[in-house]
Amino acid sequence: MSLDLPKEIEPAIELVGIDKKFGAVHANKNINLTVAKGSIHGVIGENGAGKSTLMSILYGFYHADQGEIRISGKPIAIRDSQAAIAAGIGMVHQHFMLVENFTVLENVMLGAEGGQLLRKGVASARKELKRLEDDYGLEVDPDAVVEELPVGSQQRVEILKALYRGAEILILDEPTGVLTPAEADHLFKVLRVLRDQGKTIILITHKLREIMAITDTVSVMRRGEMVATRKTSETTVEELAELMVGRRVLLHVEKGDANPGRVLLSVRNLTVRDARGVTMVDDVSFDVRAGEIVGIAGVAGNGQSELLEAIAGIRKPYSGEIFIDGKPVAGIGPAGLRDLGLAHIPEDRHHMGLVLKFEEYENSILGYHRDPRYGRGAMLDLDAMRKDAEEKIAKYDIRPPNPRLKTANFSGGNQQKIVVAREIERDPDVLIIGQPTRGVDIGAIEFIHKRIIDMRDAGKAVLLVSVELDEIRSLSDRILVMFAGKVVGEKTGDAGEQTLGLMMAGIAA
C-alpha cells in the first residue's frame, strides 16, 4: 500500500510487514508504510485501529512480532526509546512528559545532561537551544518554569526536547487536543518550517480537518490494517471518513429547530474555587430550557470542568445558586440530584464515569446502585443488574456484548457508550455532558450525538461542555464561551468558528 514516490525523494522511514498481536487482539496486521523525507504524513484511524500500537513500535515501547523498520533505507532494531532517539526518532506525546517545576532549559536537558556536573552541559545546552529556537521559530524563554507556561508553549518545549536529541523524524500524537485554534495554527506553522528544513513529521490525529490542512500524504488505519495511503491534495474529508469507518458517515448532525420550553436548569452568580482558593468559575449565570442544547465552548482549563462538577453536586460552590426546575439544589450532593432528575455524563470517564476495574454490569448502575430495582434493602440483585446491563448493551450496541467483561477491556467508544446508556436510560429531565466524544471513534460519535439530539427533542434540558469547537457548533442551539472562569459571551448555534475562537482566547467578546 505504499505510495509511489518520485525516485529523487528518499524515504525517511519505512515499515515493512509490521505485525503485532496482544493475545487474541491483532493490533497491527502486516503494516507497510513509507514516509518520504521532508514531508508531513498523517496517520488517521478510529480508536483501536492500531495507530498508537504502530507508533509505540516505532518508538520502542512495543516490539513487533514480525516485520522490519528501516530508517533512511537501513534496517534497524528499535529495542527501546533510547534506541529510537539514537535512530533520530522523537515523539511528542498527547500528555506532555515534562517536569512541571523545572525550567524549559532543564527539561530540554533532562536525560542528556552531558556528564556528572551540570555547569558545562548547561552552557552548551543553552547555546544549542538558542540555535534551535532561531532555526525553527520556536520561541520559548529557556529560563521560564514550565508549569507557568501556556499549554501551547509547553508543547513547543516538547518539540524542542525532541530536536535537541537530534530527532530527524518527529511523531506527534493528537497534538491539537489541548490547544486553542490560534495555538493550533501556530503549531502548524512550526511544523511547516520543520518540514521545509528537512525534518520528517508523522502526525497522528482523528481530526480530519487537520489532516487536510497540514499533511502532504495521509494513511488510514482500520482494525489493525493500513487500508489506504493518499496524497492529501487528491483526497477529501468524506473519502477519508469513509475509509476510516468502512462505511459512509454523516459528518453533520441532522437536527431540526429547537423548541425551548420552561427553564429546567438555572445557574445564578455561581463562583467556584479550587482547593487552593483559586477562583475557577467566576460569577457565572445562565439558564437551560427544556428542549434546548446549550453548549459551553472554551479551551480546556477555563473553568468548564469545575462548572460541570458544581452543577453535578460533586464540587461545593463558593457562592451563588443552582436551581433545577425552580428548586434550589445547592448542597444536595450527586445522589440527591439524581433523584431530582439530573444526569451527568462526566468529562473523564476513566476516573469519574467508570470504575475501570469493575465488570461492565457493575458500572452500568454506578450512581443508581441504591435503586430498589437493583436489589431490595441492603443487598444487590446481581441477576437484575446483569439483565439491565444486557438490555443497555443491546440498545446501545456496546461491543463486545458481554456484561461480565472488565470495563478496562472495552474500547474508548464503547466505554463512553456504557456511561451514555446509563445516564440517558434513566430518562432525566436535565442532562449535563462533558466531552461526550473525547477519544471516541467516529462511528460512536455519530451515535452519541444522535442520542443527545433525541434527548433535546424529547423536551430535556441539555448542557454540553466540549473543547471540540466543531462538536459544540454542530449540536448546540445556543453557545456560551468561557474564558478564565467567566462567561465572556453568548452566540447562537450557527456562530462562526473564528468569532468563537477569538472569544475562547479572551480577545473578543
Partner: protein, 367 residues
C-alpha cells in the same frame, strides 16, 4: 509492558501463580537452610510433619490460622475501601479487653454459649472503638490512616499494659493477667472436629472461634460482593473520584469500613483469650495483626484466599516451632526469615513471574 493487559484464565491467576510463588519461596528458604549446613528436604519434612503430621499439630496449625483469618479479614475489608489498616494488632489487643470483660462478668452465671454472642459483640465493639479515632481523623481531617493506626498500636499497647498491671491483675499475683475464666467464659475445644478425621486434639487449643472465623469469612464475602454497602466500599477503594461522582459519601464509608475492620480484628481476641488461655494476658496478640496484612495480601483480599493464606501461615508457625525444636541450629529467628521469604515472594513479588507465564500461556494456547 505489553503483558500487563493480557487476561489470564482464573485457574492460572488464582492457582498456578500462587503455587509457583510458594515454590520459589520454599526454594530460597531451602538455600538458607542449606547455607547453615542442614538438609533443606529434611527441614521441609520436619516442618510439614510438625504442622500436619498428627492431630495435635493440626490443632495448633488451625488455632494459629484462626487468628490470622480474623486479622486477614480485618485488613481485607479496609483495603476494599482503599484504606490500609495496619492497626489490626492494636485493635485485636483492645478487642481482648472487650471479650475479657464479658467473660469476667458472665462466666459465673451462664454457660459458654450464652456468654459467646456477648463476647463476640464485646470484642468487636472494643476493636471497632480502637479503629474509630483513626477512621474519624482520616474521614474528617485527612490524617493518613497508615500513620494513625500505627500510632494506635502503641497507644493500645500502653493502655493494656496499664490496665493489666494496675487494674485487672489478680491482687497478690505477680503475672499481669486477669483471673482465669470459669467454664462459662471459655470457648469449647473442637476435639470432635479433629477426631472426625481420626486424630487427637491433645493439648492443642483449637476452639470454637475457628467456626466463628469461617462464618465471618462468609459474611465478609456477602458484604463485599453482594451488598450495596460493599459496592460503595469497592467503588471508593478503586476510584475515589468515581465514588464522588456517584454520590457515595466518603466520610461515612471510611468510618463504616474501618469500624467493620476494627471489629473483625477485635474478634481475633476470642481465639487466644477465651479459647486458649481462658484469661487476658499481656501481649497476647503476638504479631497476629501484622501477619494479617500478609495473609490478606496473599489471599488477594478474598475470604477464600484468606483462609488458604491463613492456613499456610498457621503451618509455618506450628511447623516452624516444631522444626526449631528438632533442628536446634534452625532458631526461631530462622523461622521468621522463612516467613519473610514467603511474604516477599507471595506478596511483594506477586507479579514477578507474570510476564513469563503470560508468554508461555500465549505460546501454548497458540494465540
Amino acid at each position: 509492558m505489553s503483558t500487563a493487559s493480557v487476561q489470564l484464565p482464573a485457574w492460572i491467576n488464582y492457582i498456578v501463580v500462587p503455587i509457583l510463588n510458594l515454590v520459589l519461596a520454599f526454594f530460597f528458604s531451602g538455600l538458607v537452610v542449606w547455607a547453615i549446613g542442614e538438609s533443606p528436604l529434611e527441614a521441609l519434612r520436619l516442618l510439614l510433619i510438625g504442622a500436619l503430621g498428627r492431630g495435635e499439630g493440626i490443632g495448633f496449625t488451625l488455632f494459629y490460622a484462626t487468628s490470622f483469618i480474623f486479622t486477614g479479614l480485618s485488613v481485607a475489608v479496609a483495603i476494599h475501601a482503599g484504606l490500609f489498616n495496619i492497626g489490626s494488632e492494636g485493635q485485636a489487643y483492645l478487642g481482648g479487653l472487650g471479650a475479657a470483660l464479658v467473660a469476667l462478668s458472665l462466666d459465673r452465671y451462664v454457660p459458654w454459649y450464652v456468654t459467646m454472642p456477648f463476647a463476640v459483640i464485646g470484642a468487636a465493639l472494643f476493636g471497632a472503638a480502637c479503629a474509630a479515632i483513626p477512621a474519624w481523623l482520616q474521614a474528617k481531617r485527612g490524617s493518613h490512616i497508615v500513620i494513625t493506626t500505627i500510632m494506635f498500636n502503641f497507644i493500645t499497647s500502653s493502655l493494656m499494659n496499664y490496665l493489666l498491671v494496675r487494674v485487672l491483675i489478680v491482687p497478690g499475683k505477680m503475672a499481669p493477667e486477669t483471673r482465669t475464666f470459669l467454664e462459662g467464659g471459655q470457648l469449647p475445644k473442637l476435639d470432635w472436629l479433629i477426631s472426625m478425621f481420626g486424630g487427637k486434639l491433645g493439648a492443642a487449643p483449637l476452639n470454637f472461634s475457628f467456626l466463628i472465623a469461617l462464618v465471618m469469612c462468609f459474611l465478609v464475602w456477602m458484604l463485599i460482593w453482594r451488598t450495596k454497602l460493599g459496592y460503595e466500599m469497592r467503588t471508593l477503594g478503586i476510584s475515589p473520584t468515581a465514588a464522588g461522582y456517584a454520590g457515595i459519601p466518603y466520610a461515612k464509608i471510611v468510618m463504616i469500613a474501618m469500624l467493620i475492620s476494627g471489629g473483625l480484628a477485635g474478634m481475633m481476641a476470642l481465639n487466644p483469650v477465651m479459647g486458649a488461655s481462658a484469661r487476658l494476658q499481656i501481649e497476647f496478640v503476638g504479631g497476629a495483626g501484622f501477619v494479617g496484612i500478609a495473609v490478606s495480601l496473599m489471599g488477594r483480599n478474598h475470604p477464600v484466599g484468606i483462609i488458604l493464606a491463613a492456613l499456610l501461615f498457621g503451618i509455618l508457625y506450628q511447623g516452624g516451632a516444631e522444626l526449631s525444636f528438632d533442628m536446634p541450629s534452625i532458631t526461631r529467628d530462622m523461622i521468621v526469615v522463612i516467613q519473610g521469604l514467603v511474604i516477599l515472594f507471595a506478596g511483594a513479588l506477586e507479579y514477578m513471574l507474570r510476564p513469563a507465564i503470560v508468554r508461555l500461556y500465549q505460546q501454548i494456547s497458540g494465540k
